[in-house]
């Protein structure tokens, strides 16, 4: 069997091509609804529950999400499911308690660093904005690359230059409708993409399970270690207790404070809707992990039963494990359905890109440039800067994403770049909202502590027999601990002057 043999036919190309033009039309149509900055960034805070669920899912279930989760399933089997369980419990806990998101929505901020200024002053906002934009934009860095690998696996089209052109064209589409319609356009497209993607994922799961068989699915393949295929803390699973703890902290903080997701809570019609949004979306957070992991597991079982495919994934010239899932679905899904799945995945690609572009460009405008200008920017100027930032980030992604090869796995890269921002942000926002003694020095130390996460993608984390204290998961977990200590020590040793603190607290209460 040819490794890149596929059922992807002309009809599938037609479905995909038609589909990717729809968002641009929506962007043009809804442009008339964008009259002020809050319309562009938080859709005039007019999101009701169900559309908010669709747009949150659309954002947090991207093509890159499908790729890295299927890679986890392909490499680690069912033991990877524990990440989905942990994330779901964390999101549900946020939804039930309203932890962080309820208060942030009450404060009517448009970005997380805007809260930093209300609580800790302008300098903290600028530092937080820079670190958020740095972590966030780097985090997007491999989206295009993962998308190109999916495209290659599903269509069987392996010309690298053609792929880069195709991905560039898709990014251009996203840039057009995001620049035109902002959050209103993003929300409508996310809704459409949520529906298409979800139907595609459920149909894909049916075909994947049917091909492998329900009972075969739960028998560990001969090429895998039986215990570690199911048990995340078993030796050889690739996870272990430190990893599980890191995932608890990472998914809880990301659930509450990942700017693109939190932006949905901040766009909600009321604080109560923001809270409900998280409770309902715990189901989609489970699906965004478990369903792609299922595909990855099915792909591994399929590959392990097919000697020619198995040899392609072994040895020094082995294919990247990210190819496992797309190569599998290209062979088991019939033409037509494959086009629908591909359209769904491209929908996921676009819905994540649009939101991330909007999130990071909003941060650059609102939290870096505007505070530096000391609020001297009009709404119109801010809109223009936001739009220019979107295009600039898009150009960066084209260069970084298509020509940079990461030395680590996709999920490792995502977790580490996310931690740069999250370790500091989670500590600063949680302490800022719930601890009266939190000071601007403590906040600054916590934010800078996030930079330690970069150590998690260094060469010392690679290879056999890496001591636990040099592993990416330990470095990631310790980054959160150091940020937490930085906040406590900085606040106790260098408290804010009473007058300033009192003033900020009054501001918060007034808000």
């Amino acid at each position: 069997m040819d490794v890149f043999a596929t059922n992807f036919k002309t009809i599938d190309w037609f479905i995909v091509t038609v589909y990717i033009f729809i968002p641009v039309v929506i962007g043009i149509v809804v442009r008339k609804y964008v009259r002020q900055l809050s319309d562009f960034i938080v859709a005039g805070r007019s999101l009701r529950l169900f559309i908010a669920i669709a747009t949150l899912t659309g954002t947090e279930l991207g093509l890159v999400t499908v790729m890295y989760n299927s890679e986890l399933g392909f490499k680690h089997g069912f033991s990877a499911f524990h990440i989905g369980i942990i994330e779901t419990v964390c999101i549900l806990a946020i939804g039930i308690t309203g932890f962080i998101v309820y208060k942030l929505r009450q404060l009517r901020v448009m970005t997380i660093p805007e809260f930093y200024e209300k609580r800790f002053g302008r300098n903290v906002r600028i530092i937080g904005g820079i670190l958020l934009a740095l972590g966030g934009i780097l985090n997007m860095g491999l989206f295009l690359q993962a998308g190109a690998r999916f495209m290659m696996g599903v269509t069987g089209y392996s010309n690298p230059a053609g792929l880069k052109l195709f991905m560039s064209a898709m990014l251009t589409m996203v840039l057009i409708y995001t620049v035109l319609g902002g959050m209103v356009s993003v929300v409508l497209n996310d809704f459409l993409q949520f529906i298409v993607l979800s139907i595609g994922m459920l149909i894909g799961s049916y075909f994947a399970i049917r091909r492998i068989g329900w009972s075969n699915l739960f028998a560990a393949p001969e090429t895998a270690i039986s215990d570690s295929w199911f048990n995340p803390v078993a030796e050889g699973s690739g996870f272990g207790m430190i990893y599980v703890l890191f995932m608890v902290v990472l998914t809880f903080s990301a659930g509450a404070l990942w700017q693109s997701g939190t932006l949905r809570a901040l766009s909600a019609k009321t604080p109560k809707v923001a809270k409900q949004l998280y409770a309902w979306s715990s189901v989609s957070y489970l699906a965004r992990r478990v369903i792609p992991m299922l595909w990855g597991i099915c792909a591994f079982v399929f590959v392990s039963q097919t000697p020619k495919l198995l040899s392609a994934f072994q040895g020094p010239d082995a294919l990247n494990s990210q190819f496992g899932m797309p190569i599998f679905i290209a062979k088991v899904l019939p033409s037509g359905f494959l086009g629908l799945i591909a359209a769904g995945m491209f929908a996921a690609f676009m819905s994540t890109h649009d939101s991330y572009l909007l999130s990071w460009s909003s941060v650059i405008t609102q939290d870096i440039i505007a505070p530096l200008k000391r609020g001297a920017l009009s709404d119109k100027q801010r809109l223009l800067i936001t739009r220019i930032s979107i295009i600039t980030i898009g150009l960066f992604l084209l260069i970084w994403g298509l020509w940079f090869e990461a030395p680590v796995s996709l999920w490792n890269y995502m977790a580490v770049t996310g931690t740069i921002y999250l370790a500091g942000a989670f500590t600063v926002v949680a302490a800022g909202l719930y601890w009266k003694k939190a000071s601007s020095t403590g906040a600054t130390l916590a934010l800078f502590a996030g930079l330690l996460a970069i150590l998690g993608i260094g060469p010392w984390t690679q290879g056999e027999n890496v001591p636990f204290y040099l592993s990416d998961k330990f470095i990631g977990l310790m980054t959160f601990v150091v940020a937490f200590i930085g906040m406590i020590a900085g606040s106790l040793l260098f408290p804010d002057k009473n007058s300033l603190q009192g003033e900020q607290e009054s501001d918060l209460e007034a808000s």
Partner: protein
């Protein structure tokens, strides 16, 4: 702990729960979109949302 039974349950729960969510969000979302566009077309008083 029987991991196989646990993961079977999680998989079934996910597929059934997510299917239901998609149906609910589809019908609820259409109504929400209409209301959102009406909100954006009319003069705004956002503060009332925080009540």
């Amino acid at each position: 702990m029987n991991w196989v039974i646990l993961w079977k349950g999680v998989l079934l729960l996910t597929l059934i729960g997510y299917s239901l969510l998609v149906v609910i969000v589809f019908f609820g979302g259409i109504n929400n979109i209409i209301a959102m566009l009406q909100d954006l077309s009319s003069p705004r008083n956002e503060l009332e949302n925080d009540e």
